[in-house]
Homo-oligomer: 455 residues x 4
Amino acid sequence: MCGIVSIAGQKDNASQLALESLMSIQHRGQDSCGILCYNDTITLKKGTGLVSEVFSNWNVQKNRLAIGHVRYPTIGTDPVRDAQPFYVNYPYGIGLCHNGNIVNYCELREELMEKKRRLQSNCDGELLLNVMAEELIDNELDQAIENVMNRTLGSYSAVSIVADSQGKIVVFRDPLGIRPLVFGENGGFMAASESVALDKWGIPVNDVLPGEMIVVDGSDLMRTQLKREHHAHCMFEWVYFSRADSVIEGSSVYQARLQLGKNLNLQHDVDVAIPVPDTARPAALGFAEQHGIPYREGLIKNRYAGRSFIMGTQQKRERAVSKLNVIKSEVKDKKVALIDDSIVRGTTSRKIVSLIRKAGAKEVHLFSSCPKILYPCFYGIDFPSKRELIASRGEIDSIGADSVTYQTLGGLRKAIGLDDLCMACLDGDYPVECCTAQFETLREKEREGCIWQEY
Amino acid sequence: MCGIVSIAGQKDNASQLALESLMSIQHRGQDSCGILCYNDTITLKKGTGLVSEVFSNWNVQKNRLAIGHVRYPTIGTDPVRDAQPFYVNYPYGIGLCHNGNIVNYCELREELMEKKRRLQSNCDGELLLNVMAEELIDNELDQAIENVMNRTLGSYSAVSIVADSQGKIVVFRDPLGIRPLVFGENGGFMAASESVALDKWGIPVNDVLPGEMIVVDGSDLMRTQLKREHHAHCMFEWVYFSRADSVIEGSSVYQARLQLGKNLNLQHDVDVAIPVPDTARPAALGFAEQHGIPYREGLIKNRYAGRSFIMGTQQKRERAVSKLNVIKSEVKDKKVALIDDSIVRGTTSRKIVSLIRKAGAKEVHLFSSCPKILYPCFYGIDFPSKRELIASRGEIDSIGADSVTYQTLGGLRKAIGLDDLCMACLDGDYPVECCTAQFETLREKEREGCIWQEY
Amino acid sequence: MCGIVSIAGQKDNASQLALESLMSIQHRGQDSCGILCYNDTITLKKGTGLVSEVFSNWNVQKNRLAIGHVRYPTIGTDPVRDAQPFYVNYPYGIGLCHNGNIVNYCELREELMEKKRRLQSNCDGELLLNVMAEELIDNELDQAIENVMNRTLGSYSAVSIVADSQGKIVVFRDPLGIRPLVFGENGGFMAASESVALDKWGIPVNDVLPGEMIVVDGSDLMRTQLKREHHAHCMFEWVYFSRADSVIEGSSVYQARLQLGKNLNLQHDVDVAIPVPDTARPAALGFAEQHGIPYREGLIKNRYAGRSFIMGTQQKRERAVSKLNVIKSEVKDKKVALIDDSIVRGTTSRKIVSLIRKAGAKEVHLFSSCPKILYPCFYGIDFPSKRELIASRGEIDSIGADSVTYQTLGGLRKAIGLDDLCMACLDGDYPVECCTAQFETLREKEREGCIWQEY
Amino acid sequence: MCGIVSIAGQKDNASQLALESLMSIQHRGQDSCGILCYNDTITLKKGTGLVSEVFSNWNVQKNRLAIGHVRYPTIGTDPVRDAQPFYVNYPYGIGLCHNGNIVNYCELREELMEKKRRLQSNCDGELLLNVMAEELIDNELDQAIENVMNRTLGSYSAVSIVADSQGKIVVFRDPLGIRPLVFGENGGFMAASESVALDKWGIPVNDVLPGEMIVVDGSDLMRTQLKREHHAHCMFEWVYFSRADSVIEGSSVYQARLQLGKNLNLQHDVDVAIPVPDTARPAALGFAEQHGIPYREGLIKNRYAGRSFIMGTQQKRERAVSKLNVIKSEVKDKKVALIDDSIVRGTTSRKIVSLIRKAGAKEVHLFSSCPKILYPCFYGIDFPSKRELIASRGEIDSIGADSVTYQTLGGLRKAIGLDDLCMACLDGDYPVECCTAQFETLREKEREGCIWQEY
């Protein structure tokens, strides 16, 4: 998933701005983080943990340009080795980080290694950087990034620094625009995964277009449409991943979540609507309003715990549940409508339903603001293989709820208010049409049990 | 404010339990923390920061007994020097930490120094420990703690380890029971500031009575009522300080907050009820339900920021505000009812009102779920001097709201559902009757500008 | 063994002086170190490693009084828990560290525990501090320290800070004066284990007398002779432990070592005199001059290694040998006289003799500048039990030298130039006459295999 | 100056061997150090401080190949940024570190930057690596390194890892062989700056020839003579820099130093010969033997201090002197012959002469085992500019000795026993003939006050 920022400062405060902006999008990844900045000299610092931990004793240097990254762990990744940004010293000195997933990773990696390039990590950010470096040796920037787009399949919202002469910020987004990327100017320049990073500084928000490259060179900003296919923005940003106060492609996340709740069908008699905190609160509120039942926060999360979804292993997922506490008075002897953002493996849902029953609920009806997740994601969401998706296994009953109600595909589209969405995990319609072969390989590996571990 | 825990484990897992329980009450203090544990050997570890930071590399040792502490900064404290627990090696080896405030601190400190005792910190926990140590040199435990209660005025919920022979847990609470303290048994023993720490392990919750001492010696638990005055529990635990899922003296914090919201008068026409996150959410919901207006979370807090109230300095308070972001669609062109838990200095309220106006609100009506705070607190809440309390200064207009509505004293009592509360900060009726002199001194110092700085 | 310093600064530079002075006597112990200083407030910092490591990031505070310690590991000690100085807060606040060994440790420890005192470490420095604290509760300083001397048997050169009113430095030495202790004044006051610490600042050197206490209170220095037995200074300071440029009790260590070499008998035909670096260099030089043979440094020690004797375990001892490299050209086809300061277990000697043979020496004759070590030391030198002393076992042949020549007792006395020496490890004549019982206990424990491990 | 090692292990212990071997040559640089190792994956760790500090918590990984570096600070260097080894990922993945000085640094750096290569440090090791990387893109190894030798002027003993397929060790030395480099095999392969690193493991020692490249590929070792000029080995290795037990180009450092002392003329009546520790001890001994006067170690150095020459700034140099203590008894009322290895700025000599006078010496005659240093070094010794060389300034009298005697050029040659030495700092005859222009530039910069600061 990950989050990225990129700054060309008015003054020499780019690294300071990068630091604070990364904190605004820290929810996109807590596993590791890094900042690369430039002011004649390149400085790169990255490490495992929260931004506030990794940079706690950072003697913030004066820099004009900076890029930064927060990441969440994917199975098989090494938090130290795979932390972004990455850097190569030839040509120019280039630093890069991205959010997304390169689908033809295996082929490209092999190709680069045949060309004598050594990749030290399993991170596709390092791969993307080396493809870009290769193209920049003999090409101008425009041609180079267009070639990068032609060679790489999948999703990538990327920010980079090219340290030629005075140094440039180069930002680009894959032709399908799968992962989000916004930018804005107010004297300086900022690009980020989410609008909230720009809100903090009062910067007006624009979307980087799919297939677009933006170059910031001194005080000049150049937008170039390099390649364009149909837009296919990941719907899961509205459902779960983005902050409620973000606006993506003009659509408010909070409004979308409220509407997702309103769209949920209610066919049972319930006494109270309770959200699984924190993401599902707007959906539960919309649901409660629509159906005229009381809304209560009957589950309280220890503020000093991480986010359940974002953790890597089953063990962590179990701990995550143990951070929830039930307010008995809101649940006892009641028919509870429990609203969650989505149901992936079903493990968490099973635990929470059981928790609420133990606290004395008469009935527990589970509602998912997202439709059934039936297919794996190859573009950056850490969904498991089909075999682990509970909806795909047809084992929803094992959750132990009295009923389970899902959002409809139409309800999801209506709530977000956009047509050109990637909903491959819901309907199996993957937007990258030309790479059947890669998908076959990936799916085969999926069948073997794990996609990424070999790297 | 601070939070405390105390464990006598069934097995040798006391320090592990202490660690996880401290995380459950981390909201009570993020400035520093510490654990002292015993298993033939005393081990003491404390430091500045969150429990997860200070103990990140802790090689948790096997221990049967443990006490732990989280603290929030009070003006003039040194986070390192004043961190709890404290330890003296004579007699027996005693470790102690507490939550509260010793009102006759100055007199006792002077008395101890005349008796050649050296106090290294400005923390009244070290003072309380030395009084206890002094009394234990020649007295049995019961007599010693009774003497401690007779010599110390103010609030103190204390947990200690006395390392004689097999080692004892000794827990006691001041005769007025100003600060909370609960305990429970399920094979082992646990005491803590809030019930949520016990919920985590499924331990049934009991209140330690005002003036009561509990001793855990091996598998024996002895409760002794040493002294008793009228109960005077701090009302601010329900209003702000405790977690919403805590139950204090049998009264649910969540229910109390909902009711506080319902009790608030509405005399204007408003379009939406918006809470100041996180504490005021139940009150805003109760308010919205009572008056039939929509409830919306129009302010989003960056999850990776601390709590505004808990920070020490004005500067931090300003940063805290900058962690809030407005969802414009919920506010624009609307008449907003903004519900906060309480108004202390008014600084934060002023900033938030301005933030909401900038986002396009037509009107902003501010509601405080707590009555006017007019008097300083001498029992552990870090309220400022009268001169800084905005209600006391009569400058509520300076907040810039279209109207400001406070809870009534009756409404507060009704919402909590208890009679024997300390509401001294609201009505000036301080429950410690016998120590007028001390109050005079403290008030005089208050008039001079600062109470604690001289230490 | 350990080393100690104590400073009463003219200005507020006591901790800085302590730091630099500890580095001058770092050879006395590299296992852990610590400084306790006073200027209204007590500050204590200690840790494992060299002074330059433990205090590398120390923000040296302004302090008027300071005491400091470097220690070397004794079997069974915990480098963290047993690090000195120690501190108690009652009465006054007292910090103390010492060099020596309390022979009636077991009895005193038991006595203190019966009086409800808890000792956290196995270090006799903590014990000495608690005896001193106990005596100071009801007694004046003179009487208190005299009582300490009456209650404790063994060796102790101690420095302490008593933090009453303006604070005092209190320095005292056991009535036999077994371990060294010097002091001097030049405006301020400094006491230290060796004269080199004072040389650094140009301070004239005096010996603290056996049984003497020195108190520095403000600008007053008071010397008090509390108790006196015959002097019994440890001869091993001259042989091995002290720095070559130190002067102890008026006798130059360098001169003594030169003379020790001159005193060694030569009964074979040898080509070259080679010292075991670094301690034996003066003795080898004296030997070479006396017998008219060339002196060569045929063994080179890696400067970045520790001292062999000072390490705790056999494993470390073996590594220590591997830090030595032979200069082949100085050894090949030669009859080598190898001079070492002393032979304890014989392990190191065996390795070095073998190393020199491998490098092509025709004959290797070993000379020890110290007489045969036959008995254990109970006063602070980490000699092993009798069973491990190679001379005591009568297995000198196992070293593999062509001949082994020892210093005579008379030669040793003559070289040092003093009569009142403790030579118990050589002749079994232990200077503490009154405590046969303790010795029996200690020896019994020695027979059981280890003296200290039970604590 | 710096020191380097390179290992191709028999087993997977290359990084462990590198670590211990670096400690053997730690005297060549204490400012920073680093190790790069390879076993499918590249691992690079470097930092400021001693090997024992930087790698204290290193979880030594299993690796088959490793290179390592210790460096001493040169004016204008940044200990973090300029630490070696360096790494580039294209082609192959190459790591390199070296000992020496690239004379045409400025031209090469400019050339590389024009070819779009970014250099992050001021270290010529990074430059050398990038030249090698550039040449390896299109050339075979032999041709590539020959091209490197043709493009770079100056001194460089380099070790590198080329991470193609199974990985290779590539070692090469400049055609003049200015800096030392030895290698040996015993199953595995080791190259190092000094023979002592190989002695430690019992590996027989060979010299890498000037202009030679050695490649270790699996179990094959290939030696290739790529280029050869006359040999010009730096004489200062014997005088000062190498460890006394090293053998360079077949000539024993210890023997050379002894002989340097014997060669020194004595024209005054002196009572004692005293070395400046530690380097001058063999020379002082040779001097004493030759002239029949007693040898005494009248100056004792605190073992816990660094080496005076190796420190970067004047301030450190002064501290270094303060680590010396005089043994008064050896000096008082005596005519002292003080033997030092060399006299560079004269600052240290002045201080030591004064120290000895203060201790009561009647006369102090200073002897330098090295001839007058009159010219700067451009090949890796951190001599200052001509303006700072005391011999060059003609201000030897300012040292304050009663007489100063230098080694003759002939005496130096005779003592080392080799003809083909670089003695440019003594006679101005620089061995790199073809680069007059570069020298002019360097000298001009020297005249401007500092050579390296602009980078």
